[in-house]
Symmetry: D3
Subunit: 296 residues, 6 copies
Amino acid sequence: MIAHPPQFRPEDTTLTPSTPPVLADHELHRLLAEDTPFGDLTTDSLGISAHPGTIRFFARDPMVVCGVEEAVRLFALCGAQVRLLVPSGAVVPTETLLLEATGSAGALHRGWKTAQTLVEWCSGIATSAAAIVAAARRGDPGALVAGTRKNVPGNRALAAKGFRAGGAVMHRLGLSETLLVFAEHRLFLGAEPPARTLARLRGQCPEKRVVVEVHGLQEALVWAGADVLQLEKCTPQTVAEVVAALAAAGSTALVAAAGGINARNAEDYARAGARLLVTTAPHLAAPRDVQVRFER
Amino acid sequence: MIAHPPQFRPEDTTLTPSTPPVLADHELHRLLAEDTPFGDLTTDSLGISAHPGTIRFFARDPMVVCGVEEAVRLFALCGAQVRLLVPSGAVVPTETLLLEATGSAGALHRGWKTAQTLVEWCSGIATSAAAIVAAARRGDPGALVAGTRKNVPGNRALAAKGFRAGGAVMHRLGLSETLLVFAEHRLFLGAEPPARTLARLRGQCPEKRVVVEVHGLQEALVWAGADVLQLEKCTPQTVAEVVAALAAAGSTALVAAAGGINARNAEDYARAGARLLVTTAPHLAAPRDVQVRFER
Amino acid sequence: MIAHPPQFRPEDTTLTPSTPPVLADHELHRLLAEDTPFGDLTTDSLGISAHPGTIRFFARDPMVVCGVEEAVRLFALCGAQVRLLVPSGAVVPTETLLLEATGSAGALHRGWKTAQTLVEWCSGIATSAAAIVAAARRGDPGALVAGTRKNVPGNRALAAKGFRAGGAVMHRLGLSETLLVFAEHRLFLGAEPPARTLARLRGQCPEKRVVVEVHGLQEALVWAGADVLQLEKCTPQTVAEVVAALAAAGSTALVAAAGGINARNAEDYARAGARLLVTTAPHLAAPRDVQVRFER
Amino acid sequence: MIAHPPQFRPEDTTLTPSTPPVLADHELHRLLAEDTPFGDLTTDSLGISAHPGTIRFFARDPMVVCGVEEAVRLFALCGAQVRLLVPSGAVVPTETLLLEATGSAGALHRGWKTAQTLVEWCSGIATSAAAIVAAARRGDPGALVAGTRKNVPGNRALAAKGFRAGGAVMHRLGLSETLLVFAEHRLFLGAEPPARTLARLRGQCPEKRVVVEVHGLQEALVWAGADVLQLEKCTPQTVAEVVAALAAAGSTALVAAAGGINARNAEDYARAGARLLVTTAPHLAAPRDVQVRFER
Amino acid sequence: MIAHPPQFRPEDTTLTPSTPPVLADHELHRLLAEDTPFGDLTTDSLGISAHPGTIRFFARDPMVVCGVEEAVRLFALCGAQVRLLVPSGAVVPTETLLLEATGSAGALHRGWKTAQTLVEWCSGIATSAAAIVAAARRGDPGALVAGTRKNVPGNRALAAKGFRAGGAVMHRLGLSETLLVFAEHRLFLGAEPPARTLARLRGQCPEKRVVVEVHGLQEALVWAGADVLQLEKCTPQTVAEVVAALAAAGSTALVAAAGGINARNAEDYARAGARLLVTTAPHLAAPRDVQVRFER
Amino acid sequence: MIAHPPQFRPEDTTLTPSTPPVLADHELHRLLAEDTPFGDLTTDSLGISAHPGTIRFFARDPMVVCGVEEAVRLFALCGAQVRLLVPSGAVVPTETLLLEATGSAGALHRGWKTAQTLVEWCSGIATSAAAIVAAARRGDPGALVAGTRKNVPGNRALAAKGFRAGGAVMHRLGLSETLLVFAEHRLFLGAEPPARTLARLRGQCPEKRVVVEVHGLQEALVWAGADVLQLEKCTPQTVAEVVAALAAAGSTALVAAAGGINARNAEDYARAGARLLVTTAPHLAAPRDVQVRFER
C-alpha cells in the first residue's frame, strides 16, 4: 500500500526564494523525472516514505552561492516545505546554512541529489567567475569578465545565472543578437576591404557594436576600425602591444581578450589593457561542495 | 531579402552516423534554439549565408570520441550534408578527421558551436572515463568503473553515452531502479537490525541486488550481509582492510569504492580489492578540444 | 552580485482572475522565455531589479477586455503580486483600470510587454468581434457571428477566447469535429449526385449537421438539401436571393455568409437573411491600446 | 460575454493530496487539453459556467483506490477547491467518498470526465493487482507479484502507481536498468556456452541480478546458473518440476513465472514455487466504477 | 567501446506506411524514452548491439490491424529499415505478416516491445469495435457504433484511430465541439422548461445538433425536442419503447443508446431502434496478440 | 476501414525549400494538431482520403513571399510530395505559383489551411515591411526599418522571418540582449544624473550600444550622450528639430523614430533624419491572399 505522508501542498512553500528560478516548473520537473521517472525504489521499499524529516544544505567550502532558488522549488515540487536562507550571488563561508526543507522522507529523498547537484554545479560556475572577476580587477578595476556561450549542452540559463552571480556578464547569448566576425566568416567575404565590411555591418545594424575576432597584432591593425577587437589566444604581452598600437593608430576599438582566460592569468590580461576578458573557464569549473544533513 | 542557399534536405544526410543520436530531433532543436532562436545576425548581415562551404571537425588532442552522432544530426537539421568518419567510442590520435559537413555558410555557422561544444564535452567525459578504466585495470583486470548520477543538470543521456564510450558503466540511472541504502535512509529506520532491513528489501525486491553505502570498516561489518558494500570516501588502505575483513567474516559482498575516485587513484583502489569504482570525475572532466576548419 | 528583491511567491497571487487562463503555465512560460530567455539586461545592468514598484494596466480606448487572466498569471510567474479588476468579456470605457501588479522592478519589467501585448491583441479581437456582433444584430437580432479557424498560426486558444469575449461563437475549431464540404472536396467525388453525398454523410455522422460551401444561387439550389449552406463571397443581395429561393424550394437549410464579413457590412448580411456570419476579420483586428503606468 | 465565476486560485487547493501526483502539472494540462482544447461548449452555451456547485467522487464498487491525487490536482488546475478523503492505496468499500471539489460549474464540468476516467482506470489496475497479490499469498505468503512493462502506450507512470497501490512491484521499468536475456538475444550469441554468457554479464554488471527467460524444464536447467529464471508460459506443474529440478541440481536461481498470470491462477503458481509472479493482467483490467454526484 | 552497427538513416525507411502515424515523431520518441531512457543494458552488455538481424510482426489471432504505421515509424526512429505489409484497418487472418524491420540487434530490441505493445493495444480496440459494428449491423444495417471519450488517460489519438480502423466513428472528441446536455448540466438550469433550453442552445449553436442524455422513457418524452436523445443505461426494451413513443409524439429525435453497449448486446440495441450505439467497450478491449519473430 | 492512400514518405520531399523552416518539426506538428487533433472528419466521411491529387498555392496579389519553407514542410509532414518554386523574400506578381504538393486528398486537405494561413500571414508581414522600407529609402537611402518585439503572442520566430524577408531588421529580440532605457526604468533611478547612468551602463556592457527612449526635444538633449536616442511618438518635425539640436550640441547619437511608423509616414521620418524607423505596423498587417487550387 502507498503510505500517507503529511499533506502535499506545493503552494505552501511559505519561505520561498527572493527571485523566481530561471527554470520554469516544467523544466524542473524534467530534472526530477530524469532521476526518478517512476518512484523512489529504495525509500519506498524500506517503508519510510511517509516518515517526517528535515534536510539542510550547508556550504562545505566557501563559495559564491548559486542555484538555490531552483533547489527550493525542486523540493517544493516534491511536496516539502522549504526555507531559503541565502540567495544566489551571496558570498558565504564554510558551514553556512543555505536552505532547509521539511517534509516526508519520500519528498526529501526525491529532491535531494537533483537539488544538491544543481546547487553545487551552479555555485562552481559562480565561484569560478567571481575569482576571475577579482583577479581581473586587481589588474584593472574597470575590467569586465564575460562568459562565453560554450556552456554544457542545453544549460545556458543556469550557466548565465552562475556567471552573473559571480559578478561577470555574458559575452553573447547566441548568434541571433550580436555581431562577432570570425575568420570563418571572412573566408566567405573574398577580397572585400575591411573598411567596406565594417561599413556594411554598421549600415545594417546601427544599434549593434561590431566585434571582430583577430589572432594577433597584424590582424588587429587591419580591423582597427571595429568597435571591439577580440584577441583570440594571444599572450598578455601581445595584448599590451595591440593596445599600444591601436592607440598609436588612433583606433578607439575596445580590446577584449579571449581564449584560455582564467583566474591565474586574468590579472595579467587586465593589466595589459584588455577591457573585457572573455572566458569559458567557469563553464568547466569544479562544483562547490554542498553538505547535506538529514534530521529525523 | 532572404538569400537562396542550396536546397535544404534534412533527409539527404547521405552519410549518417552508425547509431541514432541519444537526443531526439526535438531535443537537438532545443540546443540549436538556445543558441540561435531567431537567425544568425552576423552571417546574415554579412550577406554570406547562401555561400557554399565545408566544415570539418578534427581531434586536436588524442581522445575517445563521443557525441559525433548528435553533431552530425545537428548539422543535418541546419540543412547541411554530413559525413561521419569516426563513431562514438573510437580512440583516435590528434588530427583525426571526425566529421565533415557541406552546405551553405548559414547552415554551417548555425550548427558550428553547438555541435563542437557537444562533441568536446562528451569526448571529455569519454576520455576521462577511459583513463579511469585503464588505471583500474592496471590494478585489477576485472575491475569496473561506474559513473554516478551526479551529472550536470539535465544531461544524463549524453553523460551516460560518454561513460559508456569510455568503457565504463553507469552505477545507477536514478532512484527508480536500484536499491542503494544511505545512512540518510537508515536514519528513518530506528533500531531495526541490519539483517532485518536486508531481509525486508530482499523480500520486496528479489530481482535487485542490495547495495549499502558505508563509511568505514565498522559499518562494513555491520552491513556485511548486503550484496554490495559501497565504501564512501575511504582510502585504498581502508578498502583493503574491509575486503580482508569481509572475507574473514565469510561475507560474499562485493566491494565498491566511491568518493573521490579518479584516474590517479583508481589503480590503487582496484588493487585494494574494490571490484567497482564509482566515480563522478568524468562528469567534471575538461572537454577535449575539437579543431574546426572551414573551407570555401 | 544578484540583488535580493522581495520574496518570490507565485502562489501568493492573492487577487487572481475569475477563471483559469486558457494557456497553461508552461505555455505562459514559453511566452516569457521568447522575450527574456536569459534575464533582463537593462534592468539588471541599471541595478534596479530589486526596487519595489507597481504597474497598472488601463484601457486607453474603450474596449471589450480580453486576455487579462493570462496577463495576471504572467506577472505572478514573474514573481509579482497581482490584482485583477476587470474580467475578460467586460466592456469598459477609456481609462478603466484593468489590473495592477506589485513587486520588484525586475518582475514588473519582465512581465510588462508580454502581458501588455497579449491583452492588447486579445482585446483587439474581442472588440472587433463585438462590433460585428452589434452590427449583425441591427440587421437581425437573432443573427450570430462565428469566427473562422484562420487564426494567426498557433494562437487558436487565445483567438477563440477573444471571439467569445466579444459575443461571437466559433464556426469550427478544426477539421476533426465538423462536416464542411468545400468544392475542393467535391472535386474528388466525381459525378455523385448531391443527394447521395448528403445521404452518405448523414449516414456516417448522424450527430453532425452537414455544412456545404457554395458560391452562388445555382450551387445553393443544387445543395439545398444540406443543413447549412455557407455562401462564400456573395453579396448581401445574392444572400437575399438565395434565402428566398431556398424558401421557395422548401429547403430548411440555414444560410451562413462567409468571406469578407466585417463590422461595416454585417448588418446588411444579417438583414439579407444570413443566420450566421462567418468572419475572419477579428483575427486581423488592430490591437486595443493598453496604457501602462509604473509607480515606484 | 464571458461569465464571472468565483475567483480562480489554483494555489488555494486547501485540502490537497498526501503525496504529489506522479504526473506533473504540464502533463495534467495535456490531459485536460486533449478533452477541452478550446472551452466547454455545452456548459458555456447553457450559460451556467459561473454557477457554483460541488462534485463528489464515490467508489461505486469496492476498490483499491488509485489516481485520486492526480484527480485532485486536475480539479485544482480547472479552478476548483478540492478536498481529498482517501489516498491512493486505500482499500475502500462501495459508496466511499473519495474526493470532493467545489467551484464553478465550468470548472467542475471541465475536470469531471478526465478526472473520473483517470481514477477509474488507475483503480482498475490497483484492484486487479491487489487481487493477484492476495491470490499469490494464499499460495505462498512470501510470493511477490510484479507488473510487466507492457502498459498501455505512454502510461507507465500511472500504471506503475496502480501496481504499487495494489501491493505489487514492477518487474522492470524498461530496457535501461535490468538484465533480462530473452531467446531473442541468445539468437545473436551463436554457440556461446551459457556459463560464459552469464559470466560476461556478471563481469559487466556486478550490481545487477541476471534474469533469463526460459520456456520449459530443459532450458531452465541449461540456464540454471542465472540469478532469476523467468518461466514463460509454463503451467504451474512445469513450474513445480523446474523448482524441484533446480533444487536437485543445486541451483539457487529464483523462479519467476510469467505469461498468462492472473488472479485465478496466481495461487497455483505461487504454491508451485514461483517466488515472483510477473503479470500483465492489471494493465488490461476493467476500470473500477466511480460514481459522480453533482450538487448545486 | 560503443559498437558500430550498420549506418543509421532514419530517412531511409524505404518502404513506409501508407499514411502518416497519428503520433508525431516527438511523441513516438516519448514512448521510446519511457522504455529506454538511457540505452539497452542487456543487449549492450551482451555485446550484440551491432549484429544485423530482422524482426517480423505476425498476427497471432485474426484481427483488425491497427497501429502498424506508428510501429513502422518507431523502428525507423531506432535506426532500422522497415517494410509495412498491411495497413491499419485491414482484417487479417492468423499468421499474417504485418511488418518487418531489418537492422542492428540494438535497433530491433529497442523498438520491439514498444512497437508490439502499441500494435496489440490498438488492434484490440479496432477488433473490438469491428465486432460491435458487425453485431449492430445484424440488428440494423444502418446502425452506427460510436466511441466515447472515456479513453485510457492521454491516448485519445490512438484510441480514435482504433475505433475508426474497426469501422466505428467517434461520438464526441471532447467538450469543445459538441452539445451534450447531461442531468449534471440541467441541475444548474433551475426550472427552465426544456423547450426554452433547447431553443437557447439552437440559437447559440445553429450548426450543431443538440444531444440530450436521458435515463428512461419519461425523460425522453420531456426532451423529445432534442436532435438526438442519448438513452443512458436503458435496456433494449426501453429503447424500443422510447422509439415508439417518440414516433407517436411526432418527435424526429434520433435515438442513441449508451452505457454498457458491447458486441453481445449491440444487435439487440440496433434492432430496438437505436440508430447510434455509443460504446466504451473497445477502450477496454483485450489487446490482440502479435507474434514476434527475430531472425539473424 | 481506413483507406490506403499512396505511400507516406516524409523523407521523400524531393524538391524541398532552400533553407530550413524557422519552426522545427515538433512546432509544425503543433500547428497541425491545433487544427486536426484527431483526423479530418469531412474528407474521411466522404471516403476520398486516398484519392490522389495536387494542390497549388498562387499569389493572388503581388507580395513579398514569406513562410513557404514552413508550408512545404507542413505538407511533407502530412505525407505529400512538395515542390517549392519561390523562396521567402522573393517579390512576386499576382498569379505566381509558389508551391505545389502532390499526394492523397487526405494529406492535401489536412495541410491546406494551416499552410495557407501561415503563408498569408507571414507574407503580410513581409509585404508590409517591404513597403515601409521602400518609403523610408525614398526619404533617405540609408535609413533602416526595424521591427519591434510587439509580435502576436508566441510568434516571434515567424514574425522576425517576415520582417527580414521584407528587407527590415529586428530592433531587439527581447530583454536579454539589448540596453533600452525607458522612462519606466528611470523612475527607479532617483535623481541620478544621466551621464552617470550612461557611464554605469557602458561600464557594465561595453559591447552594447546604449539606447534611450525619449519623448521630445528636451529629453533628447538631456540624454544626448546615449548611443541611440529613440524618439517615441514624435512628429517628423520634432525628429528634425532633435536631429538639428543634437548636431548643434555635438552629440553623435543616432536618432531612431518609434511609435506609429508606417508606410505612409516613413518617408517623412527618414527625411527628417531618423536613421532607424522602429515599427510595429507589419505585425498587424493584413495577410496577403494566397489562392489555392486543387487538381485531381
